[in-house]
């Protein structure tokens, strides 16, 4: 009885929530004090596609076949990576995951907005991304694990141009990889009070035959006083190693 009531309530809530969309009206995000669409809050993906992004249903929206458009030599490399994944996945060494992988892990992150800078704090390995709204050009001659992020607003969508990557990160556990020519364009759009659409277009002329695109929904943690905790990967790895050693 209790369950049935909940289902009915949820259904009612869903109809109410999606009514404006059904009527063709996009959700309008509230504004921050300086007038930006407000993306602030703690967000997290459900059912992380990190095991294999090609196998995660509906994640790769372009090309239509849902396959990463590898060049032939790169496809061979991907297969090799996949075979060695247990050892070679950079996350197994607790390295920074890169973009968009860090947004697709099943760990929450919190978005903060100030007039010239948006910051994303990740629970995963205590990482932090700064998105600069006023700088127009990427840095020259340096590369980053997490890339160099430049943001601007297109309507209610935050578009982040991420460049200056190194070639050390993967997209998932299945060995999907890129070169240091990687360029990612992210788009963050509020689609409801507690949902955020996350899209990333991935280009790398050294690795792919054409750009490809992912799309996912992030969900807000609505618990009162919600906060990020800590996932300290290398601390946990050391603890595990010490335990093994102690045997």
């Amino acid at each position: 009885m209790k369950r049935r009531c909940t289902v009915i309530l949820l259904a009612a809530a869903a109809v109410w929530t999606f009514a404006p969309l059904a009527a063709g009206q996009a959700y309008t995000a509230p504004r921050t004090p300086d007038g930006q669409p407000d993306l602030q809050g703690i967000w997290e993906i459900r059912n992380s596609p990190d095991k294999d992004i090609e196998k995660a249903k509906g994640l790769i929206v372009e090309p239509k076949n849902g396959k990463i458009p590898y060049q032939p030599a790169a496809l061979a490399q991907k297969k090799q990576n996949e075979k060695n994944s247990a050892k070679a996945d950079p996350l197994n060494s607790c390295y920074m995951p890169g973009v968009p992988r860090i947004n697709l892990l099943e760990y929450p992150f919190q978005i903060f907005q100030t007039p010239g800078q948006i910051a994303i704090a990740y629970e995963y390995i205590h990482n932090f991304r700064n998105i600069y709204l006023n700088r127009k050009q990427h840095m020259e001659g340096i590369d980053f694990w997490q890339g160099d992020s430049l943001g601007h607003w297109e309507g209610d969508t935050l578009v982040v141009d991420v460049g200056d990557f190194n070639d050390q990160t993967w997209f998932d556990k299945a060995g999907d990889f890129h070169s240091d020519e990687l360029h990612v364009t992210e788009a963050y759009t509020r689609t409801g009070a507690d949902t955020l659409k996350y899209e990333a277009t991935i280009e790398d002329p050294k690795t792919f035959t054409m750009p490809w695109k992912i799309s996912a929904t992030l969900y807000r943690n609505t618990k009162p006083n919600a906060r990020l905790l800590e996932y300290e990967c290398h601390y946990l790895a050391e603890q595990a190693a010490a335990k093994k050693e102690g045997k």
């Binding site: 004090p33 390295y95 903060f112 704090a121 694990w145 050390q168 906060r227 800590e230 300290e232 601390y235």
Partner: protein, 296 residues
């Protein structure tokens, strides 16, 4: 960018600077000040600056601490937080940063004093930052390379280049909500304003961080109250009181100025500690090998 600089190399490199251990540099010095090179603590003499301006303010009248800050040397606190004798050629004597008790020493319980001494003499390889751990509170404030303060609505957010760490401090006077068995490297911080002073109360810390590189330690019962008082447009007076009834005989307090980094177009870069550190591989791939050897 990954700084291919292991923490120990950084410690050694900076400890070797001739000015290490001298009294704190003038507030206008520091890494970000004119003439202060990247990674240097007040290296070189800064040209005279115009007098500081009034404290900038947010729309709600609270001090606006947005910007980049650096704690400077403060008596060599990052290497040894208490008043200390010359330890070696590269670690000369220093006054540390303790203002209470007046002798400048940590009021350890007798067993804890023994343990701190043992840490220094025999266990410097356990220094948490060598293992790329987060620095903890309060040390995070006085680590190398400085930090940025962002002031989005309802929060003070601090982000560090060192270990790419961050602290998130809600300023809505909320209570601590984590259970007593949850312990974090950076703890649970809640803040409120007392006039122009941001007061931050931190609990739920773990016992895996040190106050410095010299083995000064605490338990997971450590409770820290920090006070950030902005006195002009380029100075925040910082104080932290440490209370830990398992380790100390009474609370003790450090104080130091945080100086604004005045370098134009400055940004925090990416610090790849674990990415450039070979130690973890020794632990992971040779567990029972290298690590076991150390135990013998």
């Amino acid at each position: 960018m990954t700084r291919l600089l292991s923490p120990i190399a950084a410690v050694l490199a900076i400890a070797a600077l001739p000015m290490f251990g001298q009294p704190p540099a003038a507030p206008e010095g520091g890494r970000g000040g004119p003439g202060g090179g990247r990674g240097g603590f007040g290296r070189g003499r800064s040209p005279a600056l115009p007098p500081p301006g009034p404290t900038p303010r947010m729309a709600d009248g609270k001090p606006n601490m947005t910007g980049y800050w650096n704690a400077g040397m403060n008596g060599g606190a990052v290497f040894e937080v208490q008043k200390h004798p010359r330890r070696s050629q590269s670690l000369p004597a220093g006054d540390g940063a303790i203002v209470d008790p007046p002798d400048g020493l940590i009021p350890y319980q007798p067993w804890a004093a023994e343990k701190a001494k043992d840490n220094f003499e025999h266990h410097l390889a356990d220094e948490p930052e060598l293992h790329c751990y987060m620095s903890g509170v309060p040390k995070q404030i006085y680590v190398q390379f400085g930090f940025q303060i962002l002031q989005p609505p309802g929060y003070i957010v601090m982000n560090w280049e060192f270990m790419h760490s961050y602290r998130i401090i809600p300023t809505d006077s909320r209570e601590h909500t984590l259970g007593p068995n949850v312990h974090l490297f950076e703890g649970d911080s809640v803040g409120h304003w007392e006039g122009d002073t941001l007061v931050v109360d931190t609990t739920n810390l773990n016992d895996r961080t040190w106050f410095d590189t010299a083995g000064d330690f605490h338990s997971d019962q450590l409770h820290v109250v920090e006070r950030f008082t902005m006195v002009n447009d380029r100075t925040i007076n910082y104080e932290a009181t440490m209370d830990d009834s398992k380790v100390f005989t009474k609370p003790w307090k450090i104080a130091m100025p945080l100086m604004r980094n005045l370098q134009p177009n400055y940004e925090i870069m990416e610090f790849g500690c674990i990415e450039g550190n070979q130690d973890l591989h020794h632990y992971l791939q040779e567990a029972g090998g290298k690590a076991a050897e150390k135990k013998k």
